[in-house]
Structures are given as structure tokens and as C-alpha cells.
């Protein structure tokens, strides 16, 4: 069940990124955390971001021009191209994790508050 919902979220993140841009990643992660209401939500959202953006990057990596782009982009930012690729995924992972973590924090605290009340 967890695996499937992560896959679904990953697919949603990939599609939303394609059509609406990178800002959809934390938004989807936050919505996901709100729906799941589980302490594992940030981790799952982060994993979904990794899979979603990883798939998008893999798609780019399939075209011949990627082999030109990778070193040039690395040179542009003064780092190996692979590091920029990794950083891209880390960027999405952190966006997803942080958004989901904030929501989860509030949800759990509110739930605990309600239970105590």
C-alpha cells in the first residue's frame, strides 16, 4: 500500500512538474502529508520526489544531447555534471520532504492536542 501510494505520488509529481513546474513538488507533498496523516509521510514524499524527478531526468538522459549537456552544465556551475544531476534530485527531495514535514508536524501536533483535549 505504501509502495503504491509513493508510486502514484511520484507519477503525479512528474506530471505536475511537466505541466505546471517545479513549485508543484512541495504543494503535492504537502497535500499528500495532509491526506496520509502519518509520521512516515515526509519520507514517502521525499521518496516520491526522488522517483518522479529521477524518471524525468532519466527521460532527458535518453537523448544524445544529454552527453553534451551534462559536462557543460557542470562546467557552468563549477561542479561535475553528475553532481548537478544529483543536486537537482536532492532539490526536489528536500522540497517534498520539508513541505510534507511541516504539514505532518502540524497534523500530528493538532491530533495530539485533540486527543489530549
Amino acid at each position: 500500500m505504501v509502495f503504491i501510494r509513493v508510486l502514484v505520488l511520484a507519477a503525479l509529481m512528474a506530471a505536475a512538474t511537466m505541466f505546471l513546474g517545479w513549485v508543484t513538488v512541495p504543494i503535492l507533498a504537502a497535500v499528500f502529508a495532509l491526506g496520509v496523516r502519518s509520521a512516515s509521510a515526509p519520507g514517502e514524499a521525499a521518496l516520491a520526489a526522488l522517483l518522479g524527478w529521477g524518471a524525468l531526468l532519466a527521460r532527458v538522459a535518453m537523448v544524445p544531447a544529454f552527453s553534451t549537456l551534462l559536462p557543460q552544465l557542470g562546467s557552468l556551475f563549477g561542479a561535475p555534471g553528475v553532481a548537478i544531476a544529483a543536486f537537482s534530485i536532492v532539490f526536489a527531495v528536500l522540497l517534498a520532504w520539508s513541505a510534507a514535514r511541516i504539514v505532518t508536524g502540524f497534523v500530528i501536533r493538532n491530533s495530539a492536542g485533540s486527543a489530549a483535549g
Binding site: A14, T17, M18, G21, W22, V23, P26, P42, W53, L56, L57, R59, V60, V63, P64, A65, F66, T68, L69, P71, Q72, L73, S75, L76, I84, F87, S88, F91, A92, L94, L95, W97, S98, A99, R101, I102, G105, F106, I108, R109, A112
Partner: protein, 831 residues
């Protein structure tokens, strides 16, 4: 719970930080979201790097289906039912490959780069310079004054529609990578942008500042010497318009000794100060003397192996990636069949050929920019200027500079007299008149060229409408005619006729009083010698036409070299034309090396006689060819630099920012006067003559070369290590640039490599005008503007090697074999 609160706090910090860095640039780092997004960011540029094999697009305004076939050289062949459809398709295909370049060049001409690239000091400085030169105003006037009912206006509008059709089809994913790095998006094209771009091109080609050089020299060594050092006519005569001489003529020169500073010039220089001088120098385009290097020549059937007329051209411009040129072929059955290169954003083929005529250009270097010292009503904020005793209102134009989000970051007030822009140069108000700001029919000239059927017809149609930037237009036709004409608006000035002096702006009698008649233009048609050529040199033999056309002409070494090659070849082939374009021989070296060797060998009593003998041996080993592997050219170039340093010491002795150093033409002219006082290095006690100064220069050159490159062993002195081309990306992004590209040539050769290496042959073309036209060409770049495309720089190596591709010129799409077809695009009308 406390752990959870801390985690939430950390997450909040991470989210805010990433959100901020994702959405906004931080210093030089672009907004990370737009860069790192694998679907829409920089990564996605890989997805659009290559053209799809098949594509179909609907386009409003198209009359019928238009087919575009990209050949195996990535050149689009446009087969359209009407001319307007062809121009619409041209706009589309050029934008498809070069959209960012188009926008950047147009903005450079409009002075709105800050709206694209932000308001940094450097970018703002470029925009201010553009507006101070009056270029945006001139482009706006061109658009306003254009005849909107004319055929060429309709072509510009169709081209614009094609560009906008492409822009409208884009999603953020498809934006060129530069937009993503800048966090920008494409803006709609307009005819105005085409005009902005063309005016900017005029600045690149037709701005020189001879007034300043002469002033500087007069302030140092007096007017008499300055007038000869920067004479109106070149001391070496090898004109474009064929004269009676079989070879270059060295006119005798009477160079007066350095005199007392001219007090008037000194006063002007001192009043301008260094800031003022910099302001005036800003009127000149960034090309240095060594950057000029365009060549063209044509051979009549009587001297060609095939008995067909041949034409070659290689305009030298600042090299860039993507290249300034885009190669294209446009076919409209019965109306248009033109192949050549267009400037992305300029709606037509600028250099190329049709089935009947081929044409190309070099820059004339004529003086078409004059300065006037104006009298104004208020030195701080003038509103009027005086003309013939009466006050005339200045045209006031506020110039606002904005950031990409529309914030105004600076406002300038520009003023115009009837002559042109008025600038405050350290308290003195100086106006400028410049043909580039007044011309408005260059597009029409190019459009007419594409449909000309004879060489003379093409020259005449261009001369009837073309004003600026003045160009040596070379043509060859299928009937075997060859012709050249230096076409453009050449002003006639009052009294002395000189344009290289600053005139009193308060008198209308100092205004231009007319323009040269076309019959007076430098020109040649089917000369008996069987060939024509131009290399930016003085176009007329002053014995034939002494009237002022300009001064400070480009050195004629290249002209001498190509003419020598052509005179020696009575059966020229297209292959020979190609080889000549990167010929490593040098008329300059042929002239100076014997002189230098003579000085070295006669220096037996020189304090460093041993070193002189060594220099003579090393220089004597040189074959005077600037091949990439050559290991002696470096010594010769160092020697020539030292000669210039020592010979013109009188002109380098003050604190002026840029010493007015004469060209090596003047050095050559002085060689026949070994005891002229100018040979004396005034900074040393003995009085040097020619050979003594040359010996000192050679010793210093050897010391300098060894200090910089080591002993002349191995490949220490290899020419390709010393001089090479730097092809910078438009935004100077290093990974997108190609630097250190080896070239075969040096100063004064047909492929003159410059010190910085930023200029060179921007397009090389050879055409044979037989019953079936044949063409060859290449340029240093590739058709695509996408740095990740294999089409981005795939011609650089070929260009570096001096090789050309055979151009495919199909009359119909079917004439391209399957192997020759790389991709296809079908445009259909949108109903």
C-alpha cells in the same frame, strides 16, 4: 513533541530557503527552480536540441502549404508558393534555431538589454551607449518612415508573423536555455526589432573615429606631422577600383619631423580630459584595426579554369556562438530562388547567390560619421542650440532603463540637433551626424538583390536604395560579368571636404552639402586584368580621384596578397579560391622581413651583435607564412611590435589613454628614408637611424619572445599556441564558447588573426556562376543556437581547417536525395 517541533522548524527553514533560491536568482546564481527542473529547466534543453525528422505546424496567414526540407548540413530549403509565404517560413525557421540570439541582438540595438539580463553596471553601460548613439531613435524613425504599402514592408511583416508563430507555439520547456538561465521568456517579434538589429549592425560596420586620433597626434607632434601620419590617402596604393598600376604603388612621403604640439588640439584634448576622451571613443565600435579583415574577389571567365565567373567572399566580424549568420535557401517557383546567409532577425538573405548572380560585401571604412562642437543655451541642461545666430530647439528624448520586472533603474535625457545625437563631453556639447542613423532602405536593397538577374542590375538596384553601412558590393553573374561598387551614402562636406576634423556646429555651412553621385562611387566592371578584389583598403587611387572619402584606411597588405595570387593564376578554380581564403602568405612579411634582416646583418658594431646574428638566423629560417605549425612568425610579430614602440615614441610619450599610433603602412613608407629623424628613439642618447632602431627592436623582440615562450625549441614558438580564435557565446558563458581555436594567419594575411582572436571570417563562400550554379561555404559555428545540439558548433573544426562544404542548391525538394534530407517541416495554413 520537542523533537517534532525542531524538525518542523528545520523543515520550514529548508522550504523557505529552497523556495527562495528556486524562484529568485541569488547573485550570479540563477533561480534554481527554472534551472534544475528536469521537465522545464535547463535539462529540457537536451530534449529540443535536435530537430524532429518530421514536423507539421499550422500557421495563420499562410496562403498554401509550404515545405521546408533540412539538408544534411542542417540548412533549411524553403519551398513556398508565394514570396510572402517564403518570408513567413523564413521567420519561423530562423526563430526555431536562433530565437534567443534574435532577441538579444534586437535588444542590443534598442538599448533594452537590462530588461532581459538585469541592470548590472556592465549591461546598463551597453544600453546607455546604444541610446547615446541615437540608435533606438533611428530605428524607430525607420519603422515610422517605412512605406507600409511597399512589397518589402509586406516581407518584413510576413517574417515577423513567422517568428511570432514560432514563439506562440512554445511552452516554457521549449525556451532556449539562455532564457532559463536568465529567468526570462521570449517576447513577441516586431518589425521594429528588425530595424533595431539592422541599425546595430550598422554601428558594427560603419563607425570610425578618425577625428580623435588626429586630435591626439596634433596635440603631441603638431598638425603638420599629424596630417601626414594620418593622411587622407594611403601611402601604399592598391585600390579597389582598378588603376593603371600592375602592382601596388608606394607613394613618396614627406613626413615632417615631430613638431611642437598644436596648441588648439592640445587645448581640446586637455578640456576633454580622460573621461571625455573615453566618451568620444565610445562612438567607435569595438573592432580594433586588426579586427578588420573582410575580403572578396571575383574572377572573370577569361581567368577561370571553367570559363565561368567565380566569386569569393569572407566578411570578418566579431565571432560568436551562435554565429551571426544563418544559412538558408528560399524557393518560390518563377519568382525567387536565393541561397545564402541571413542575420537572424533581419528578414532576408544578406550575402549569397541566386541562379543568375552571386554577391558579397566587404566594409568600405569610409568616413560617414562627423562631429560638431555645438553652442548651447545652458551648459548643464540645454534646451536650445545656436545655428547661424538663431536659437533652435533641441529634440529632447527621455531614455528609461528598466529591469526585467519593469522597475526603472535609470533615466537619461538625450538631446538631438538636426544633425543627430548631442553628448556632453566633459562640459563640451558635441553632436554627431552619422549615415547609419539616417538610412532606412537596407532591407529593400537586400530584397532587390535576391531577385536580380545580372551583375550590373544588382549593383544598380543596390545603389538606388542602399545608404549605410557603406559596403564594397562585389557581384558575378552567369553571363560571365564581374563588378564591384563601393555602395553607400558618402557625404560631401563644405570647404576642405574633410570629415576627420571637428567642425563648428553653430554654422549651417559646416553641414553636409550633398552626397556623391553613384557614377563617382569607387567601382569596377569587367576590368581587363580579369579580376576584382576588395579588402577594406582605400578604394580609389588618389591620382584618379583625390576627393576626401575617408582617412585612416585599412592597410592594403591583404589586397596586395590576394591580387598577387590572382595575377599569378590564369586558370583559377573554386578550390584555389577556397585555398586563397586562408592563404598564410603575407605581403607585409615579404616587405618587412628583408628590411629587418638587412638591419640585423648590418649591425656588426651593435652592442649585442651576437644576439643580432641569432635573430637574423632565426628570422631567416622563416618562410614568411603564418601556418599553424610555424615557429618563427612569433618572432617577426614581436619585432614589428617593438619597431612600432621605438619608432613612434614621440606619440607615446604622454599620459593620453590611447596613443595615436600610425599603422605599419607608415613604417613601410619610412623605410626608404633611413635617416629620417623619426627613426631616432628620443629616449636614448645616441641618434638612431633606421637600421640602428630596427636592430634594437630585433634584440628586444628576441628577449621578449624567449621570456614569454622560452627558447625556440619544440613547439614553444608554435604559431597556433600564440594566436588562435576565441568564439565567445553571446552571453560570454564559457562552457558555451569555443576558445583557443587554431587559425592559419597573422596580421596582414587574408585570414588576419587578431591579438584577442575575437574577430575573423564570419562566413566563407565561393560561388561558380556556370549554367548550373555551384557554391561552397561554411561559418564558425552551426545552425542551431542550442549549445547542447550537435548542430551548435559542428562547423568550427572545418572552419579552423579552412575547408568549405559543398552547398546543396536544389530547385525542388525532389532534387535532394533521401541521404541528403535531414528533417522536414510542413507549414499549413491555419483556417
Amino acid at each position: 513533541m520537542s523533537l517534532s517541533r525542531a524538525g518542523t522548524a528545520v523543515a520550514a527553514v529548508v522550504l523557505v530557503a529552497l523556495g527562495y533560491a528556486g524562484a529568485r536568482p541569488i547573485g550570479p546564481i540563477p533561480a534554481l527552480g527554472a534551472v534544475l527542473d528536469p521537465a522545464n529547466g535547463v535539462w529540457s534543453a537536451a530534449l529540443t536540441a535536435e530537430l524532429p525528422a518530421e514536423a507539421a505546424v499550422t500557421m495563420p496567414g499562410l496562403s498554401a502549404e509550404t515545405n521546408i526540407v533540412y539538408d544534411d548540413r542542417d540548412v533549411p530549403h524553403i519551398f513556398a508558393p508565394t514570396e510572402l509565404d517564403a518570408y513567413r517560413a523564413l521567420g519561423y525557421v530562423v526563430a526555431r534555431d536562433r530565437l534567443f540570439q534574435m532577441e538579444m541582438q534586437a535588444r542590443a540595438g534598442a538599448g533594452t538589454l537590462t530588461e532581459l539580463a538585469g541592470g548590472s553596471e556592465a549591461v546598463l553601460g551597453l544600453d546607455r551607449q546604444t541610446r547615446e548613439l541615437g540608435m533606438p531613435r533611428a530605428a524607430e524613425r525607420r519603422a515610422k518612415e517605412s512605406d507600409t504599402t511597399s512589397a518589402h514592408w509586406a516581407q518584413i511583416v510576413a517574417y515577423t508573423a513567422g517568428v511570432n508563430s514560432y514563439i506562440e507555439s512554445l511552452t516554457p520547456r521549449d525556451y532556449p536555455v539562455e532564457y532559463k538561465l536568465l529567468g526570462a521568456k521570449p517576447t513577441r517579434w516586431s518589425p521594429q526589432k528588425t530595424f533595431n538589429l539592422m541599425v546595430r549592425m550598422g554601428w558594427t560596420l560603419a563607425s570610425s573615429n578618425d577625428e580623435l586620433t588626429r586630435l591626439r597626434a596634433s596635440a603631441l607632434v603638431g598638425k603638420a606631422a599629424s596630417d601626414v601620419l594620418f593622411a587622407m590617402h594611403s601611402p601604399i596604393v592598391e585600390p579597389i577600383q582598378p588603376n593603371q598600376s600592375a602592382t601596388a604603388r608606394f607613394d613618396s612621403l614627406r613626413l615632417p619631423p615631430p613638431g611642437a604640439p598644436d596648441t588648439a588640439a592640445l587645448a581640446v584634448m586637455q578640456s576633454l580630459g580622460s573621461r571625455g576622451l573615453a566618451s568620444l571613443a565610445a562612438f567607435t565600435s569595438p573592432r580594433g584595426a586588426d579586427a578588420v579583415g573582410s575580403n572578396n574577389w571575383a574572377v572573370a571567365p577569361s581567368r577561370s579554369a571553367s570559363r565561368h565567373a567565380l566569386l569569393a567572399g569572407d566578411p570578418h566580424l566579431e565571432l560568436s556562438l551562435p554565429s551571426i549568420w544563418y544559412e538558408v535557401h528560399m524557393v518560390v517557383p518563377g519568382k525567387l530562388d536565393v541561397y545564402g546567409v541571413t542575420i537572424p532577425g533581419a528578414s532576408g538573405v544578406v550575402i549569397g547567390f541566386n541562379r543568375d548572380v552571386a554577391w558579397t560585401f566587404t566594409n568600405t571604412g569610409a568616413d560617414v560619421m562627423d562631429f560638431y562642437a555645438e553652442t548651447v543655451d545652458d551648459l548643464k541642461s540645454p534646451k536650445q542650440y545656436k545655428l547661424d545666430g538663431a536659437w533652435k530647439p533641441l529634440e529632447i528624448r527621455p531614455e528609461l532603463y528598466r529591469t526585467p520586472n519593469g522597475t526603472v533603474i535609470r533615466t537619461d535625457t538625450m538631446r538631438y540637433t538636426h544633425r543627430g545625437p548631442l553628448a556632453n563631453v566633459e562640459g563640451r556639447w558635441i553632436s554627431m551626424r552619422w549615415t547609419v542613423l539616417e538610412s532606412n532602405r537596407d532591407h529593400e536593397a537586400f530584397a532587390k538583390a535576391t531577385v536580380s538577374t545580372t551583375a550590373m542590375g544588382m549593383l544598380d538596384s543596390a545603389a538606388s536604395v542602399y545608404d549605410a553601412p557603406a559596403q564594397n558590393m562585389l557581384v558575378a553573374d552567369r553571363a560571365g560579368n564581374i563588378g564591384i561598387r563601393s555602395t553607400g551614402l558618402y557625404p560631401i562636406r563644405a570647404d576642405t571636404g574633410r570629415g576627420d576634423v571637428m567642425r563648428d556646429g553653430s554654422l549651417s555651412s559646416n553641414d553636409w552639402i550633398g552626397r556623391w553621385a553613384v557614377a563617382e562611387y569607387p567601382q569596377g566592371y569587367n576590368p581587363t586584368r580579369g579580376f576584382l578584389s576588395s579588402t577594406n583598403q582605400e578604394p580609389l587611387d588618389p591620382r584618379d580621384q583625390p576627393r576626401y572619402l575617408g582617412s585612416n584606411w585599412e592597410r592594403p597588405w591583404r589586397g596586395m596578397q590576394i591580387n598577387k595570387l590572382l595575377r599569378a593564376d590564369s586558370a583559377v578554380t573554386p578550390e584555389a579560391m577556397r585555398v586563397y581564403q586562408s592563404d598564410p602568405g603575407s605581403a607585409r612579411a615579404d616587405f618587412f622581413v628583408p628590411v629587418l634582416l638587412g638591419a640585423a646583418l648590418s649591425g656588426t658594431s651593435h652592442p649585442q651583435a651576437e644576439k643580432l646574428r641569432r635573430v637574423a638566423t632565426l628570422l631567416g629560417e622563416w618562410d614568411r607564412r603564418y601556418t599553424k605549425d610555424n615557429s618563427r612568425a612569433v618572432l617577426f610579430e614581436a619585432a614589428m611590435q617593438q619597431v612600432s614602440q621605438l619608432l613612434w615614441d614621440e606619440l607615446r610619450r604622454d599620459s593620453l589613454a590611447q596613443a595615436p599610433v600610425p599603422s605599419d603602412m607608415m613604417t613601410a613608407a619610412l623605410v626608404s628614408q633611413p635617416d629620417n629623424v623619426w627613426w631616432d628613439d628620443g629616449r636614448t642618447s645616441p641618434v638612431e637611424n633606421r637600421d640602428a632602431l630596427l636592430a634594437n627592436a630585433l634584440v628586444a623582440a628576441l628577449d621578449g619572445v624567449i621570456a614569454q615562450y622560452g627558447e625556440p625549441t619544440g613547439d614553444n614558438w608554435r604559431w597556433a599556441k600564440v594566436r588562435n580564435a576565441r568564439i565567445n557565446h553571446l552571453l560570454r558563458i564559457a562552457p558555451f564558447s569555443r576558445l583557443g581555436v587554431p587559425v592559419q594567419g597573422g596580421s596582414g594575411t587574408l585570414w588576419p588573426s587578431t591579438g584577442s582572436g575575437t574577430h575573423g571570417p564570419s562566413w566563407r563562400m565561393v560561388v561558380e556562376m556556370g549554367p548550373t550554379v555551384r557554391g561552397w561555404g561554411t561559418y564558425p559555428g552551426g545552425q542551431s543556437g542550442n549549445p547542447f545540439s550537435k548542430r551548435y558548433d559542428n562547423r568550427v573544426q572545418q572552419w579552423s581547417n579552412g575547408e568549405l562544404d559543398s552547398l546543396r542548391v536544389p530547385a525542388t525538394a525532389d532534387q535532394l536525395s533521401a541521404a541528403q534530407r535531414h528533417a522536414r517541416l510542413v507549414l499549413t495554413p491555419r483556417r
